[in-house]
Each structure stands twice: as structure tokens, then as C-alpha cells.
Point group: C2
Chain length 210, copies 2
DNA sequence: CCGTCTATCGGGTACATCCCTGAGTTGACC
DNA sequence: GGTCAACTCAGGGATGTACCCGATAGACGG
């Protein structure tokens, strides 16, 4: 049976969720304060933690990040009144595997917890679109036609320049002379119609060349 | 009742899914080939399309991207034997709202379709972790505590440097002397523990400072 | 009133970078 | 065997950067 831990600073809400989820899951414990929650979750090692986002003392984000650093197998489902993009992103970055709003029906909530326990990602309808849109925008096409203009060696030099290395460092890493690095960079600048290594660095980071 | 459209180049598999999903959903149609699928989906305008990833003639990615360009409200659930990261990313980028493997149980599949119809994102357990990991890595924190170390003027200079401008150009844009720009950059480098404007450009672009 | 912070400049030095010309080596292709 | 592209390296000059020294002026708070 899935062991569930609850965290929410509203005691009344906590009691409500406890009574709804009690028959379905093994309640490993509950907490209404951040530091208390971190310690209790570490001690009870539940399968899933249902956690409020907005709480005094760092909020749910701190609990998730903190616990995951020592117990990466515990899964977190964020439960919040807010559907603000910043909150969702913060929780996902911290490591939450799902995010639902408090307006959810009890039956839907227990179904969501079960899915999280199985390893699925769960998002409320309105959030799913936002999360996937952001995800899609953030993964750019790795191929660029202009990159084909460059020879393999030139691309290799370009990648090092893009990381912020000086010519001297690039030369040492590739076991070639500084003068050779200069030659390659000059070719790259000419082929890409750029005028300085600074513009080149911007050009490269825009295309995630690392 | 949710209108469902099926696309799969394996006729036998298509027939199996049809018989399983038939009682639960209104079957808007089905197709076993890419171009045929695009036309038929546009004509029938279903709520959800269950689509195979690997198909001759461009695969499911082409169908999703093509149909969404004219019908952005149709939702796609990818169904594949592959759980390769490239396939998953390609389908998400194209606009699919979910991705499950063909080893899924029929009951789970119909539940997934229902969730997709409601607007949720659905992923198989093994894929959920991968998608969220990639998502977390790709969304940087927009606010950075180290930026508060810099004075407003220093941040302004930093933004120009991050765009690849030379000191001379920055000076002209801000109507100050080159020497002043040098002073500001020096302060920024010292405060951020960096050693050259090249590293600074990388630092800035990592944080989307533009 | 005085200290600190911020923003503004300058001189001067050491080094990095950009650009030019020139030149030797491979390997592929005809 | 000649051509060509890619890769390698060098000299040298013009410009850009990093960092040291210094200075002035305004704002703000104790």
C-alpha cells in the first residue's frame, strides 16, 4: 500500500485531506510547518508527499529540494491554490513530479496520487498546456544550416570559444598553436558574417552550442 | 462524448485498439498512413488523436505539427513502442500533450485518453522522469541573487556586454567614456568572481540576461 | 560634517584579439 | 601528377581588454 505524507500549513485543510485520503492510503504522517516537515519526511520515508506550495519559512520548494538531496526516490505532488507559472516552474525545478490545484475533486486527487506513486507526471488541465508550451519552447532545434558552412575543426574551436575560453586555453586543450586558433576563428567570423569573438559568443549561446 | 481518432500503420494493432476503445469513445475515424491521416483528422475534427510515432512518410511528428498548424485545439497522445528520449522530445516539440508506450494496459490507455481530453499531460512512468528532468534543466531561474550585488549602472553595462557589444559601442550607447565602461566591467568581474569579458558573456547568456 | 557609495573620467602597462600576408603539410579527387 | 580544401604555423601591426594608479562630484546617512 502506498505510504502518503501530507504537508499543509492550514490545519483545517490538512484534516480534510487526511480524512479523504485515509481509507485509500497508508498515512505515513503529516506536518504543518517547513522544518518540521523536512525532518518528519526523512524519518518516515513515504512513497509520495502531498505538499502545499505557499508556506511560511521557505514554502514547499525548500521542503522538496531539501528532502530530495538525501532521498531522491521520494515523489512529490504539489498542491496549491495558485496556478501561477512561477510557482509551477519553481516546484518542477525543485523536483516535484506533479502539480494540481486545490480545487480538484477528492476522487481526482487520490487518482493523481496513485499515478504519481506509479511514476507518472500529473498536472491539472490548465497547467499541462503551460508546462508543455514552456518545455517545447525551451528545446530548440539543435541543427543549424549555417553550422554546415564550418569545417569540423572550426566547429570544435567555436565550441570552446562559446564557453568563454581565451585563445591560449583553446590552443592548449586542442594541442595546437595560438596562431592556428586565430586562423580558425577568423574563418568562422568571416563565414558567419560576424565581426568579433564577442558577437560570436552571443551567436553560439543563442543556438546552445556547448 | 469524446471523439477519438486513431493513427497507426500496423493494421492489426489499429484494429485491436479500435475494438478496445470503441465502447468508451466516439470513434471519429482512423488512418494507417501519414498524408491520409492529416486529411482525415482535419475533416473529422476529433477531440483527441491517438497517434503512432514511427510511420513511413515522416512519422507521427509530421502529422501532429501539420494538423496543429490549422487546428490548435486538437489534442494528441503519442503511442509508441519506443521510449527513446529523441522520440519523446520530438513529439513534445511537435505539440503532443502526452506519450505512452504500447505496453500499456487497455484500461490504462482509455484512462490516459480521458485525461488528455480534459487537458492533462500524460506520460508513461519511465518517461515522466526523463521529461521532467529535461524540463528542469532547461528552465533557469530568472532571478539571480548575485545580480543584486551589482549597482543599476553596472547591470546596465552588463546587459550591453552580454549582447556582444565592444566597450566603444557601449560607451556610445550610454553616452559615457570608454574608461567608465572599463571601470564598471572591472567591478562586475570582481563581484562575480570572473576573469574576462568572455566568461562574463557566457555567465550572462546562461541566465538569459538580455 | 564626514564617511561611504555610486558614477564619472584619465594615464599607463601588459596582454589578448583581429586581420593581413605567406607558407608548409596532409588527403581526397580527377 | 596536379588541384583543391582543410589544417597547421609564423610575423607584424592595429585595436581591444584587464588592471593598476589616481581624481572629482553628487547622494545618503549617522
Amino acid at each position: 500500500m502506498t505510504a502518503l505524507f501530507l504537508v499543509d500549513d492550514h490545519e483545517l485543510f490538512l484534516a480534510g485531506v487526511l480524512s479523504e485520503m485515509g481509507p485509500e492510503f497508508e498515512i505515513a504522517g503529516s506536518a504543518s510547518e517547513v522544518d518540521e516537515a523536512i525532518d518528519a519526511i526523512r524519518a518516515s520515508e513515504p512513497d509520495v508527499v502531498l505538499i502545499d506550495v505557499h508556506m511560511p519559512g521557505g514554502g514547499g520548494v525548500r521542503v522538496v529540494a531539501d528532502v530530495l538531496s538525501t532521498h531522491p526516490d521520494i515523489r512529490f505532488l504539489a498542491l496549491s491554490v495558485s496556478d501561477a507559472p512561477e510557482d509551477v516552474i519553481a516546484m518542477i525545478r525543485a523536483g516535484a513530479r506533479g502539480y494540481v490545484t486545490k480545487s480538484i475533486a477528492p476522487a481526482e486527487l487520490s487518482a493523481s496520487v496513485r499515478r504519481i506513486a506509479e511514476g507518472d507526471a500529473v498536472f491539472s488541465p490548465r497547467l499541462a498546456g503551460f508546462v508543455l508550451d514552456a518545455f517545447g519552447r525551451q528545446i530548440p532545434t539543435p541543427i543549424d544550416p549555417e553550422l554546415d558552412l564550418l569545417t569540423p575543426r572550426e566547429q570544435e574551436v567555436l565550441r570552446h570559444i562559446a564557453r568563454g575560453f581565451a585563445y591560449k586555453q583553446v590552443a592548449r586543450k586542442l594541442n595546437i598553436s595560438i596562431k592556428t586558433v586565430e586562423t580558425h576563428v577568423s574563418s568562422v567570423l568571416r563565414k558567419l558574417q560576424l565581426s568579433s569573438r564577442h558577437e560570436l559568443a552571443v551567436w553560439a549561446s543563442d543556438r546552445d552550442i556547448v
